[in-house]
């Protein structure tokens, strides 16, 4: 090309003193950044291809590599940032919609980072989780509003279907197709080992993973990919995906090149065809229609499985959640605007939706105001990054959280946000067999188990500090939170006081 408008964002810096020319960087880069020059016996790099995924950096045995932000810059302009200018160049060239992956990276407030937790002093003892029982078990599902007794006066213990979790964290929906088989297997095995659930996402369930059904949420999305009776029956719960935090208002899109034989079988679509989910469910144009689908799925599975309705956090989320709670759904999953995706139009990812903290707080309040909070469990997702975020979400009112990006990071994801290229060097967001094999589920599942075991310890530590020894006493316990640097309106929506109050 005669005129090169787009300059590399990163530079690959190689310390030639340390490079032993083992060529692992070259062999491991699917973007073909690195090249071996035989004549001079040296490695060189083409910065323009680098997505900053750190695969080469992480595998270099002599730590000879680092990726740095390119100092190359446009003339300074706070309004016209380099990013804004570059995006115009891209579109002027391509005429297309900009695509991105993973969660919204823009500079919006992260409310989790503006809330602080309480701890006991003097009047109420803190509890040491190493010495006292500390419970994180939760049950998800609708709770009855009254009890009934048999002729002997014993409580009749019939309940709507419930899910028992060892801790209030589940792996959120990521479809087979958007992520690799090995990533799916890692999630499934980790969920089984941890006593929690993972979510198939909208791409159906590979037949080899049916054995983890007790720990599986099967998703039904607008494309209905891979949905059949055995699939519905295989899981512990069914999730209707109405929306996704990363791209509210649009459906999923899996390019045909990712639809190989296994995915084609699992999704029940021809090999090589694009799997495009419609933006809405074409049988759901209103809340009554949702109710019909909820009951269709319940009918199909003998009322034995709870139904989750997942929505993206949008402006009217509280009213929508109220409608869902009255639709017969057992749980509502709310996905905040920082939630990840394998591919989304950049503008939608970066400009649509709500922070999960505000959405969660307003939904929990609304359902309580209407007296229907016990009819549904609330699952909050959309960038839960640590155990502290989990604790804060529970204190705001969630029964449980969904994590997905954090799980992928545990599997090796470096958030290079290039999933949509299909060339994930970490074997996660790819279907290329040579790349997929880079994620060994024996290692992956162990890392996921480690991550959540660590989080569970931390959750117990924080609960113990607050003098709480069972997670249900933390749920909706907003007095345990204080805001820092938040304005009156934000505090009001979050339903918390400011630090110092």
């Amino acid at each position: 090309m005669a005129v090169e408008y787009i300059q590399p964002e990163y530079e690959v810096v190689r310390n030639q003193e340390r490079c032993i020319v083992c060529r692992v960087c070259e062999r491991q880069c699917a973007n073909q950044v690195h090249e071996y020059l035989k004549d001079s016996n040296r490695m060189v790099a083409d910065d323009s291809k680098c997505v900053n995924c750190h695969r080469c950096v992480a595998l270099c045995p002599t730590r000879a590599l680092k990726i740095v932000k390119s100092p190359h810059t446009f003339k300074e302009n706070t309004n016209w940032s380099g990013k804004a200018i570059s995006e115009i160049y891209k579109q002027a060239e391509s005429g297309g919609v900009l695509l991105s992956s993973m969660g919204n990276p823009e500079n919006y407030p992260v409310y989790f980072d503006k809330m602080l937790l309480n701890a006991s002093q003097v009047t109420n003892p803190s509890i040491d989780p190493l010495r006292e029982p500390m419970e994180t078990r939760v049950f998800l599902g609708a709770k009855p509003e009254r009890i009934e007794r048999d002729e002997k006066g014993r409580i009749i213990r019939s309940l709507p279907p419930q899910i028992q979790l060892s801790m209030p964290v589940m792996f959120s929906a990521m479809s087979y197709g958007s992520i690799s088989y090995n990533a799916h297997e890692s999630l499934a095995r980790a969920a089984a080992e941890l006593g929690i659930l993972y979510n198939t996402g909208e791409g159906g369930l590979h037949e080899d993973l049916y054995k983890y059904g007790k720990n599986t949420i099967v998703q039904v999305a607008s494309g209905r990919f891979g949905v059949h009776k055995d699939y519905l029956e295989s899981g512990a719960a069914i999730e209707i995906k109405m929306g996704q935090g990363a791209k509210p208002g649009i459906g999923g899109h899996l390019p045909g090149e990712k639809v190989g034989m296994d995915i084609s079988r699992t999704r029940m679509i021809p090999e090589g065809t694009d799997a495009i989910s419609p933006a809405p469910h074409h049988d759901i144009y209103s809340i009554e229609d949702l109710r019909q689908l909820v009951y269709s799925l319940k009918e199909a599975t003998g009322y034995k499985k709870p139904v989750i309705v997942k929505i993206a956090a949008v402006h009217n989320v509280a009213a929508i959640a109220s409608g869902i709670a009255r639709s017969g759904a057992d749980m509502i999953a709310i996905d905040g605007f920082r939630g990840g995706t394998g591919a989304a139009p950049t503008r939608i990812r970066d400009h649509v939706g709500l922070p999960i903290e505000l959405a969660l707080a307003s939904v929990d309040k609304r359902l309580r105001d209407e007296g229907i909070r016990n009819r549904v469990s609330i699952i909050a997702g959309g960038s839960i990054r640590s155990s502290a975020d989990v604790v804060k979400a529970i204190a705001l009112g969630a029964d449980c959280v969904y994590i997905a990006t954090a799980a992928l990071v545990a599997l090796g994801c470096h958030l290079c946000r290039s999933c949509h290229t299909g060339k994930c060097n970490w074997g996660i967001a790819t279907q290329r067999p040579d790349l997929v094999k880079r994620l060994n589920p024996n290692i992956g599942f162990r890392r996921l188990v480690n991550l959540l075991t660590a989080w569970q310890h931390e959750i117990k530590e924080m609960m113990g500090g607050m003098g709480i020894n069972s997670i249900e006493a933390l749920r909706g316990n907003r007095l345990m939170l204080r805001g820092v640097g938040l304005n009156e309106k934000e505090l009001e929506i979050l339903g918390i006081k400011h630090a110092g109050e």
Binding site: I147, R373, M466
Partner: protein, 358 residues
């Protein structure tokens, strides 16, 4: 929304045979634990004290001034048949000052109003109490059960007892509370016991689950106006016992639920029941230190938190059962005990009077 955090002394005495005795003894018991109070609140609940009006709801009401009294009485007349009203007799003593107007009414819901409301009688009374307490500025109903009454004030409990001439009342059960609030000045309404209908609660502790419990119970129409742990517990008891129909034993398993590890080791039937209660009423689990004595028509229940982070001792002599924060508070009034023990965390002690329904 500022919450009261407190330490405290509690005491309770009940006659299993329903024999009535003077309030003198409970004063003596709670006075022994003066160290556990700081003079910012004391109070008593007394059961079986109004036999001549036992079929009427006895409302004890604080008024800030005559205007509040007038407004409240108008409301009462519109909703109830008032069979008797009077000032509650008090004794002027230097230790108790700044008293509000303290009145007592024996009432029954007006049959026409009750019928029009389509509520059961007790629910009707509860709604009226909430309307007064949240809607009439300067009026506060602090007792609303039948054949029982709450007496409370700012002061040390023994002074509060003398102020209300508690020794002149005879009942089959008394509970008492001396308060050690660690913030907010004393307010007469903020003293224990807290009550709704005939349920009364005295409480020593600070519950870490407070806001989870409060936000949950407020869903069912209760308004936590006083922002204390004890008020929430009182409403939770009313909700679970009167409205949901749980037994007191089941309520203990909700409030101070056994740990899952304990539940797993129980026989199947019991395990399933405990699991059901923990799951369905998970928002009403109470964590953090507490010892409570719950009074109700025909009985008394004592309960410690699941880790037993607060002291509580039970003593028995013949038909009498004593509960107190400290054994000394029992020994001072009955040193010759048949049995004395500290209940385990989460182990409810439920005492009922023979021949009285509960």
């Amino acid at each position: 929304m500022y919450r009261n955090v407190s330490g405290c002394a509690i005491s309770g005495i009940i006659s299993r045979s329903g024999k009535r005795f003077s309030g003198e003894r409970i004063i003596e018991s709670v006075a022994t634990m003066r160290e556990r109070s700081n003079g910012l609140g004391g109070g008593f609940a007394a059961y079986g004290i109004y036999p001549e009006y036992k079929d009427y709801y006895a409302f004890h009401i604080f008024y800030n001034d005559n205007a509040a009294k007038k407004e409240c009485e108008t409301f009462l007349e519109e909703h109830f048949d008032i069979i008797n009203l009077s000032r509650i007799p008090t004794r002027k003593i230097p230790e108790i000052t700044d008293e509000p107007l303290i009145w007592r009414y024996f009432v029954l819901p007006l049959p026409t109003k009750l019928a029009a409301s389509q509520l059961d009688e007790r629910e009707y009374v509860v709604r009226c109490v909430f309307r007064i307490n949240t809607g009439i500025d300067g009026a506060y109903v602090f007792s609303s059960g039948k054949n029982m009454g709450v007496f409370k004030a700012v002061g040390f409990p023994e002074d509060v007892g003398r102020f209300y001439k508690l020794e002149e009342y005879e009942g089959y059960c008394f509970t008492a509370h001396g308060r050690y609030p660690t913030n907010t000045p004393g307010w007469w309404g903020g003293a224990h016991p807290f009550s709704l209908l005939d349920y009364t609660v005295v409480h020593n502790g600070e519950i870490s689950s407070y806001d989870a419990n409060r936000r949950s119970i407020e869903m069912y129409g209760y308004k936590c106006t006083l922002l204390t742990d004890t008020e929430v517990i009182a409403y939770m008891i009313d909700y679970l016992h009167r409205r949901i129909g749980l037994t007191l034993d089941e309520i203990c398993h909700v409030f101070a639920a056994p740990f899952w590890s304990t539940i797993e080791g129980k026989p199947k039937q019991e395990r399933e029941e405990l699991k059901f209660l923990r799951n369905v009423f998970s928002s009403l689990l109470i964590t953090g230190p507490f010892s409570i004595i719950v009074g109700f028509e025909g009985g008394m229940m004592a309960l410690n938190d699941r880790l037993k982070l607060r002291s509580m001792v039970v003593g028995e002599k013949d038909d009498m059962v004593y509960v107190a924060s400290e054994e000394a508070a029992i020994r001072i009034i009955q040193n010759d005990l048949d049995r004395v023990w500290s209940p385990m965390g989460g182990e409810g002690v439920i005492v009922t009077v023979e021949g009285v329904k509960n």
